[in-house]
Amino acid sequence: MGVFGLREEEIKHAIKVLGREPNDLEWSVISVIWSEHCSYKHSRKYLKEFLTKAEWVEQGPGENAGIINLGDGYRIVFKIESHNHPSAVEPFQGAATGVGGIVRDILALGARPIALLDSLRFGPLNKGRNKYLFEGVVGGISFYGNCIGVPVVGGEIVFEECYSSNPLVNVMCIGLLTPDQKSYRGRAEGEGNLLLLVGAKTGRDGLQGASFASEKLDEEVHKKRPSVQVGDPFLGKLLIEACLEAASLDGIIGIQDLGAAGLVSALSESARRGKSGVELILDNVPQREENMSAEEILLSESQERMLLVVRPEKIDKVIEVFRKWDLEASIIGKVISKERFVVYFKGEKIVDLPTELLVEGSLIFDPPYTPYEVPSISSDLYNSIKEEHIANFVEVLVEDLLIKESIYRKYDYSVQTNTILPPGLGDSAVLRIKGTNKGIAITTDGNGRYCYLDPRKGAIYSVAEACRNILCVGGRPLGITDGLNFGDPSDPKVFYQFREVVKGINLASRVLEIPVVSGNVSFYNGQGENTIYPTPIIGMVGILEDINYLITPGFKKPGNLVYLIGDLSWLSLGGSRFIKDIFNKVVGDVPWVDLIWERKLKLFWEEIRKEKGILLSAHDVSEGGLLATFLEMAFWGNRGVRVDLPDDKIEYLVGEGSGIVVEVEREGEREFLERLGKYALKAIKIGEVTDNEFVISPYIKTTLSELFKRR
């Protein structure tokens, strides 16, 4: 194959650093590992800015996943990953292998995968291939996740024109390390240690997957697409069990998954991290197909494979574990002290490259960027809002709940028996940690509309929203994994979006003191007119030091008081679901968000959640405004609400912005207000929980039973 996808300057750079012209195979190796997907050449510089440390962070970015400490020896491992391009071509397998891939990143740290979340974006279901893509992706996630017995406990679904034909499929996986478990790193070190390739045989699947994910998805690519990778969840499950069993033995130095760019990236990256080199005997790689060339074996992206670095004296014991699970386990080479990536095939040395050149040696690109203007909400539009639009919007929101339900019913969310707050019932999923009183809260949040209208504010908003979502269920936020989805970085507008989004995430994460411990970047999603909205997905994990801190969003008891923490005047129609769904426009200023306020809210909440019985339910204001918040709290609690808005400003009903709605008992009201006062937070009393009555005056007067007839 030789050189592919590299620019003139990169080719010159490689030759200069190496001091010679690489051979054909070496060019292939350099080309895949310098692809955007593997080298992060457009993003590396910016990602370095993130806050990545805190007292409770055990591992930040740079490894296969991040680790945070929950105390008492329990640690949580997590990362998000996109599989957008493969899912656009073959949605079922694309999504399935996406799940398999992120699960193995978690496994590489020696942790048992305990939960998955899927953040999805599609074009409208009634257009083109979107329904096919949607059903395929959900089917693929369900197929893989259910089979390996890792519950899908949450996620998101958004439909928007810009994702037509270029869906976003981001999957986050969470793993657990118990006190008796060692954590591992993707590291090859110690001269003479052996490289053990385990799991599936290597076939010709997914050749060039990494570079494919680094290209625009045009018609051409559709035709010359690489051979599709097929997931085998059955083998994936065996690999999880076998790796965990092996990880409990002595003598394993490092564990690394095989993802994009297969053996090339797994070996060179772990060698680089271990400040060592590797010598690979390609003939020893178990092959599924006949007559595979060196290049095919090296670059194959066959699924369900892992690399273990093992001390020679322990190798037999480790291999035995994989035999027990009927998996391949072959010694394919060894660690050497020279920091080089060396490959032998049929007795000949065919690759000999410095690992530094491969892993950190690519050129860094910092392309030009330009800000752009977006339209505001015209007064014509504003004045054309009518009563019937509200009724239609209620329909939309109820329909939304049903679509979400139709998705998570296809996922096994209760396996592993830890899911205390299952999908569809809260702002975050909550899992208990067996053997402790602890729980964790997990969420993914992203708002492409906001980020398109104002990338920096949109990103800040997404982090703040994720934080509120963790708080709402009674958690304390501990860490972020960010999935950054963008268009073509050589488009100055796109690069502007990228820079601003990273700045926004960074700012919010610093003010809120929630470090970024892992993440993923996916460029080249759509192009020109069809470029996607900048869509950062914030995956966040928080701790419930005691699962009794759990707060659920459903209204509890008629007669209880309903407060909005925040201010009605913050709610805005800019970029809102309402304007989008009713007028099909994405316009206006995105809602105001004040990080200092969010920080105070966080501090207030981290304290009050520990007092049993003050906050009886809580739910943040997000898409769909207070109307959606009330509908959901009613739907989930099977109780109604009577709300009196002080004014008939439409923003109050369907405008979006910061804020949390809470339910407090009359007896707890004083205490609640005092504590709010302590943190100088504002709140207004806006209503009362009812039995069946659902009233938001002056707009809506109906009943629960009427609203949810279709349930």
């Binding site: 369900s142 259910n146 089979c147 390996i148 969840p233 059955f234 019913r409 209760s414 028996t417 205390i420």
Partner: protein, 219 residues
Amino acid sequence: MKVGIVIFPGTNCDMDTYHALKIVGLKPVYLWHKEHDLKDVDLVILPGGFSYGDYLRAGAIARFSPIMREVVDFANKGGYVLGICNGFQILLEAGLLPGAMLPNITNSFICKEVYLEVLNNNNFFLRRYSKGEIIKMPIAHKEGRYYISQKELEELKENNQIVLKYFGENPNGSIESIAGIINKRGNVMGMMPHPERAVELFLGSQSGINLFLSFLDEE
């Protein structure tokens, strides 16, 4: 009572089942599919999951596992065997229970809490429930539509072998809403819902606990 939990390749509810048994005070042992040793257990549980990925048909490959020969012998001698979800499917494939499973009528995987009616409590497994009791438990399966020929169905009814029925909605289209059956002798039971996921209140329901409590030795 000594309880054994079989692990097939692809089983994924083994640890959940273990956890549920531990809650009632039992200390089960794991049984490995490649072995022929039932380790002197008094009760064998085939737990849920995706043995062999459910490739071809749920349970079709697992039933040929070495351990299944022992399980069949054990059952034929009167030993207690409980199949949950995938375990139920394996028991059907192995012929220890009559009938077969088909893909859900919805053509998709279904994960939700359902209500069940206990039709027959006059057996070892369900004796701690009362007849007619309505209980809540999660289901999570893709092939849970129980099917049996009309003639055999009549037989099941005559012998009171239908022990659990879906109450209200029949989620997967099972014939006569059947959720669980027992063999004639009363020592082999299969059920699609997951009792091991319903043993702690904060998981949504505790109605599975009585099933596991029935494995405790009588005082």
